[in-house]
Structures are given as C-alpha cells and as structure tokens.
Symmetry: C3
Subunit: 153 residues, 3 copies
C-alpha cells in the first residue's frame, strides 16, 4: 500500500464516498481499463466548495478543489481495485472548470489534480489531458474531473 | 430480441435515424468496445426539442429529451450490432445539458437516459457517468449524450 | 510516409509542437489505442487564433482553427508513432467550440478537423464524433479537439 502511504505523507486523506443513488456507478471496468465517473470536490459525497473560479474562487482555491476531486478519483479507484498500487498508468484525464466569463486558465486549475497524480505515480501518473471550461457543473461545483486508468490484471 | 421487446413494452420506440452526412459515423467499434457519437433528442435525425432546461424546459422535459437521446443511442447501436441483446455493459455515459445560467441539476436531467439503460439492461446498463453543463449544443438541443458500450464478440 | 506526403500535397504542414510542461502528455498509449490530449490551433505550441465563433470569427475561420487543431493532433501522433501511416482508424473525435451565446453550428466548425482526417485516411479517418459548445477554452482558443485512434501494433 505504497500509494496510500504517500497520500498520508503528503498530509492528505482519501475522502469517504457515499454509494451512488443507483443510476450510475463510480467506476466501470472493461479489460484492464477502469473508467471513473466525473468527480467533484466532495467529502463523503457532499460538495465542499461551490463557486466560479476567477470570481468567487482564486486559481489557487480552484486548484485545491481540483486536488480534492482527484482524491475522490483515488477513493473510488480504491473501492474498485482494493489497492491503489494496482494502477499501472493514468490514460486520460478530462477536467472541466467553471470560470468567470472569459476565463482562460483551465489548465492551471486542473494542474491541482495532475500534480497529485504525478506526485503519487511519477510518470505513470501523467495522462493525456483535456482541460476546458464548462458553463455550469452539478450543484454549482467549480470543477468536475474524470479519468480512465489502466490497471493490473 | 429481448431488449427491443422491453422497449416496446415500455410504450417506447427506437427512432429511425438518417445516415450521417459523411464526416462522422454514428458508431465506431474497436475490439469489443463501441463508441457512440453524441446523440440529441431526434426522430429520423430531426431535433424534436430545443431550448434551455430550467428556462424554456422543465427538468421533466429535459429528462424526456435525455430519454429520446438515449433511444437514439440504442437505434445506432442496433445498426452497428444487429441485435441490442449483444450489448454486454454500458461502460461510460457522458451527458451535457444546456441549462439556464446557474443550473445545477444536470445529473437529474441525464437520469432520463440512465434510467432507460438500467430498465433495459439492469446493472449492466449502469455506467460510469459524467453529467455537466454545456454553454450551447448543436441546433439548440437541450442535451447531448454519448456512450461507450462493451459488446459481445 | 504516404500520409505526410498527402498533407504536403494539400499545401498544409504538420506544426512543430513544444514539449508539454510536465503535468500532462500529448498522447498516452494503452494496447492499440492512443489517447490524444486536447489540441488547440497552435503552431509550435503558441495559440494562433483567439476569439468566439459567430462573433470575432466566422464559421469559416472556426473551421480553419479546427483544421489547425487537427494538424496538431497529427503532429503529436507522429511523435508517438514515428509514422502517421501506422494509424489504423480514428475511433472518437470530440470537438468543443467557443461560440457566441446561442451558437448552434458546432458540427460545421468541427468539420474543419473531420474533413482533414477523412481526406488523409478515407473511411478510416471518419470517427464517432461529438461536437458541442464550451463556455471558455484555454487561452481563449475558439476550439479544442481531442481524439482516440487505433494504431498498428
């Protein structure tokens, strides 16, 4: 359980997650790929931060929100895999940012998630990435991030 | 043809679809995965509902639009597979909702699609999901939904 | 190197690309699939066109921007594969367009990319596609396009 130890050493924690209400799953596995549903900055499936980056929230606050969404990606991967050390590589990360009109710094915001994955997994944590704006996100979240990861058989 | 029977039993119908104009395909298969292009609430490839959820359209109308987009996903899957019973599982469903500014209920709207897939396929119809806002959608559609499904070889 | 010759014959060129700063990769391969990160109309990783389609930019200018983003997809695929002839088929193309409020012509804009892929690869260049609006894109880009391609082993 090296990855979980690293998370702890960084002073972070895997957020608990409440089971989804029934019409979607946190993860779906097909072969060695795990598709992770869109994650927001939740603790125990309760949104912790709401607002618009570049307005209500600074870029740094947006990055912290992205980091928390990334921790939720890891939480649901742990449920799927049992052990986060079984992740082989991050394949695709897609991050949506709700910013003020004209906001152009989506990549910097999503770096809050990408930096965590790289810190934990090294080069294997660096994915093909998409970072862009979304007009609105569920419950007013500032970010929503999804991922596809390759895992050990 | 059990799935098609179920659709009929629900009082629904697979919409006819007109062939795409040539620069995209309804579906692309690679191995056991079928990628379905973004679907809108069409009948015979003509958009049936236009507008903004939370403004022109209620959430219930948005859910109906999402259900019709989902039926189009099934229509094009039938063209690809011949028989909808050959779907093994829904892997990823991504749903974009055009809502009024500040709209936060994208998951409820996309449930209109997810509930159909679950009704038809049970747990295999429940995918890793992403639901979020889009500023604008083709032809003014209120929803656009794409899917990746695993199919029998 | 037939594809590169075709690009030249069309009077186009593969743009040079600067290495990403470290938190994402241009491409990530898993099995025979290559996931390409979101590409914008860059030359040497510098954005060449900024603005909103239907406002600052005409649809034709948006199509040109989409074509340049598509050329960047090919540039990073060449880095991954060595030879663009090793692409077997385009599986999924996802194109986001920043338009004026109410803009409905995202598919026409993304056709600027799709037409290039089809011209170069024929039917194998025609993907399952998603075209939709995004409120804002990195650095104010009018389009962002990502792709998943199947490649020779």
């Amino acid at each position: 359980m090296k990855i979980e130890q690293k998370i702890e050493d960084m002073g972070l924690a895997l957020p608990p997650v409440a089971a989804p209400a029934g019409l979607y799953r946190f993860t779906r596995r097909v072969g060695s790929l795990v598709y992770v549903s869109g994650q927001t900055p939740d603790i125990d499936s309760v949104l912790q931060v709401k607002g618009v980056v570049g307005g209500d929230l600074t870029i740094e606050e947006g990055q912290k929100a992205a980091q928390l969404a990334a921790l939720n990606i890891l939480s649901v991967l742990k449920i799927e895999l049992g052990d986060l050390d079984r992740v082989k590589q991050f394949v695709q990360v897609m991050g949506f940012v709700r910013g003020v009109p004209g906001f152009e710094e989506q990549p910097q915001v999503i770096n809050g998630a990408s930096a965590l994955f790289k810190e934990l997994y090294g080069e294997a944590g660096v994915a093909a990435r998409v970072a862009l704006g979304a007009s609105d996100l569920p419950e007013g979240s500032p970010v929503e991030i999804l991922a596809i990861v390759e895992v050990e058989d």
